[in-house]
């Protein structure tokens, strides 16, 4: 016990990401970082902290506020043998540069018949809850996941963040790596404590496209990603007090999507709640529900979703907090299923 405690190294996702990038930069000189304020500042969300000092301005490049140019440039550099890790500061800004992402980064491998690869990582922050309003609080992970050619992953804790970042950098395909601001561990943002976990010092990979059962259970499956996992865990703890055994499944990756893991869990529990901070319609929740029902999994009650309503994210706390998913909403969804 004592020994384990000595070895424990609790890191925030921000630190875990920076450590992963640093380790890969040390062993592979093709890896470099590019984006706004990722240099001396260390990234607005801290995930490049220390890199500028260790690797200098050539490999850790602050860019102009020109997302189309620097993401397009990353595509060109990646196809020329480099491994860029680029940051889109807030995912909400994807609208100014999405062509470079979805029509080039994601498709050039296919367009070239696999002869040209685009081994790059696009890291970007998601999520709200801290009153940053409608252009700085979105998740929109389903928007990325809907469009073919890019992997879309999003860790819920620091252990996964490090392993998935290393896997993403080593992946020969373009990977969109989304980190949720409420899990990130920045001083100026409240941080979910459960996201700060032990992270081994050595480098390791967490495979992209594998979901994980974060908490096993038998009565209901709660499926989520990033913040959704933590809402699910909190709800599961409350449900446990009520004698209900909830299984929480962390998707970790939307593309590839681990449909088998979802089906396996719901086959066991017979009940499904999908939690998502991304918008309700045409998103992740619908996809997960469809995955389960088209597989013919027998259900004890209609599946439920707890997602962000189809509204722009409001600024004022009463409205925003009301609109977010919550353990209470998950429990209400479960209770609805009990009625059936």
């Amino acid at each position: 016990m004592t020994q384990v405690k000595e070895k424990e190294r609790k890191l925030t996702i921000a630190r875990a990401m920076a450590e992963a990038i640093a380790q890969e930069m040390r062993t592979d000189e093709k890896v470099f970082v590019m984006g706004e304020d990722i240099g001396e500042l260390g990234g607005v969300f801290g995930n490049t902290r220390g890199l500028y000092k260790e690797f200098g301005p050539v490999r850790v490049r602050d860019t102009p506020i020109s997302e189309t140019a620097f993401i397009g440039a990353a595509v060109g550099a990646a196809s020329d043998g480099m491994k860029p890790v680029v940051e889109l500061m807030f995912v909400d800004f994807f609208g100014v540069c999405f062509d470079a992402i979805y029509n080039m980064m994601a498709k050039n491998t296919y367009f070239s018949g696999g002869n040209v690869t685009v081994p790059m990582v696009l890291m970007t922050s998601t999520g709200g809850g801290y009153s940053d309003a409608g252009q700085h609080s979105q998740c929109v992970h389903a928007t990325f996941a809907h469009l073919p050619g890019m992997k879309v992953v999003a860790p819920s804790n620091a252990y996964d963040a490090k392993g998935m970042m290393i896997a993403a950098i080593r992946d020969p395909n373009p990977v969109v790596f989304m980190f949720h601001k409420a899990l990130q561990g920045m001083g100026w943002l409240g941080t979910e404590k459960d996201a700060i976990v032990h992270v081994p010092e050595a480098d390791y990979e967490v495979p992209l496209g594998k979901a994980v059962v974060t908490r096993p259970g038998t009565d209901v499956t709660i499926v989520g990603i990033t913040s959704g996992v933590h809402y699910g865990l909190k709800a599961a703890r409350i449900l446990e007090e009520q004698g209900v055994s909830a299984e929480v499944l962390d998707l970790r990756s939307l593309v590839p999507l681990d449909r088998e893991a979802v089906i396996e869990s719901v086959t066991k529990t017979g009940r499904l709640i999908v939690v998502d901070e991304d918008y309700h319609s045409y998103g992740m929740t619908g996809e997960i529900i469809a995955t389960v029902v088209e597989a013919g999994v027998p259900l004890k009650a209609p599946p439920q979703r707890v997602a962000y309503p189809d509204i722009p994210i409001p600024f004022t706390p009463p409205m925003e907090q009301w609109a977010l998913p919550s353990p209470e909403k998950i429990i209400a969804a479960f209770n609805k299923m009990k009625e059936v």
Binding site: E36, D37, G39, E40, L41, V44, D62, T63, P64, I65, S66, T68, A69, D92, F93, G95, V96, G129, Y130, S131, D132, A133, G134, Q135, H136, G187, W188, L189, G190, P309, D310, I311, P312, P314, F315, T316, P317, P318, M319, E320, Q321, W322, A323
Partner: protein, 328 residues
């Protein structure tokens, strides 16, 4: 074009209102955020971009504008909003997230919309320019008076939207003015590190429009140069691009440690804070006395205090109103 005494006083007064407003916000912003600073807490949650130091850009331009003229601004909108005549109570209440806010709390500090004076903004860098071009087009098509003015930062001048909108304004010779507030920083990245040339005003030549650079963060100089551009626009002679040298006296947003600032830069900027500079000028040119000043300062404080009090006293909206106003 030379400002009248009245106009100079108007400018000074609105610089004061803006500064006092920002100071009040700055203070209240920290309420509830200690011991652990968490942006989400306190009466003013979320990001906060203060405009201290940039007041000359607001007043030197808006002194030429009427309520009917359209102004689009950025993530750093307060000073411009105040000079444009945005309802200060409504803006304050919006920043507090109250139901009496301009948008009932849905927008917050980066989404200030006041159609009464044709003011709006966007939190996305570079996205002030397209709507201004469209508003200018609308005035021409409707044969209605009024021009459009788009504000942007020097960092935003490297965003594609800037290029596209200026070209379109140039092709169509629209009554629109582009005001670049060059505070030399885009968050932590300096203009030198991000912009291939020294002056964005030189980029005007790419769009067939005049370009002007105004050094010194000087409201009078701004007034003069912008006056000509406004005349050009109102006379149907087309758009103008103006870059104004200004200074960001605060961090990029509240909570910014500003470790990236070279030592001494901030102190040097503080020494040429445009507010005392303007006060001195009034004293010199118009024999502005300390009593005159005290009166104006008191007036300005009064306006700000009233707005803040209004915001504080107002109610929060009902949570479920979040579902309203998506569509009308």
């Amino acid at each position: 074009m030379i400002p009248s005494q009245e106009q100079e006083k108007w400018m000074y007064k609105h610089m004061l209102i803006s500064r006092f407003f920002e100071e009040a916000i700055e203070k209240i912003y920290m309420e509830g955020k200690s011991p652990a600073f968490n942006m989400a807490n306190g009466p003013i949650p979320g990001e906060m971009h203060l405009s201290n130091g940039q007041e000359p850009c607001a007043v030197g331009v808006c002194a030429h504008l009427n309520a009917e003229d359209v102004v689009t601004s950025t993530h750093r909108p307060h000073h411009v909003a105040i000079a444009k005549g945005v309802d200060l109570k409504g803006m304050a209440a919006e920043i507090f997230g109250k139901t009496t806010g301009l948008s009932g709390g849905r927008g917050g500090h980066m989404h200030i919309f006041d159609p009464a004076v044709n003011f709006s903004c966007s939190g996305i860098i570079g996205q002030s320019v397209g709507p201004a071009v469209g508003a200018a087009l609308s005035r021409v098509m409707q044969q209605k008076s009024g021009i459009a003015v788009a504000y942007l930062g020097e960092g935003a001048a490297n965003q594609g939207a800037f290029h596209e909108a200026l070209n379109m304004a140039g092709v169509w010779k629209l009554p629109v003015i582009f005001i670049i507030e060059d505070n030399s920083w885009g968050i932590s990245v300096s203009k030198r590190a991000s912009t291939a040339i020294e002056r964005n005003s030189d980029r005007a030549s790419s769009y067939g429009m005049p370009g002007e650079f105004i050094p010194g963060n000087d409201p009078i100089a701004i007034f003069k140069t912008v006056g000509l551009a406004v005349d050009r626009a109102r006379s149907g002679l087309g758009p103008t691009l103006i870059e104004i040298e200004t200074s960001r006296l605060a961090g990029h947003f509240m909570g910014d440690g500003e470790a990236y600032r070279p030592a001494g830069e901030k102190e040097a900027l503080m020494k040429v804070d445009p507010i005392p500079v303007m006060k001195e000028r009034l004293a010199e040119v118009y024999s502005w006395t300390d009593e005159d000043d005290a009166q104006l300062v008191a007036d300005a404080h009064g306006v700000v205090d009233e707005a803040i009090k209004f915001a504080r006293d107002s109610e929060y909206p009902a949570p479920e109103e979040a579902m309203e106003k998506v569509f009308v």
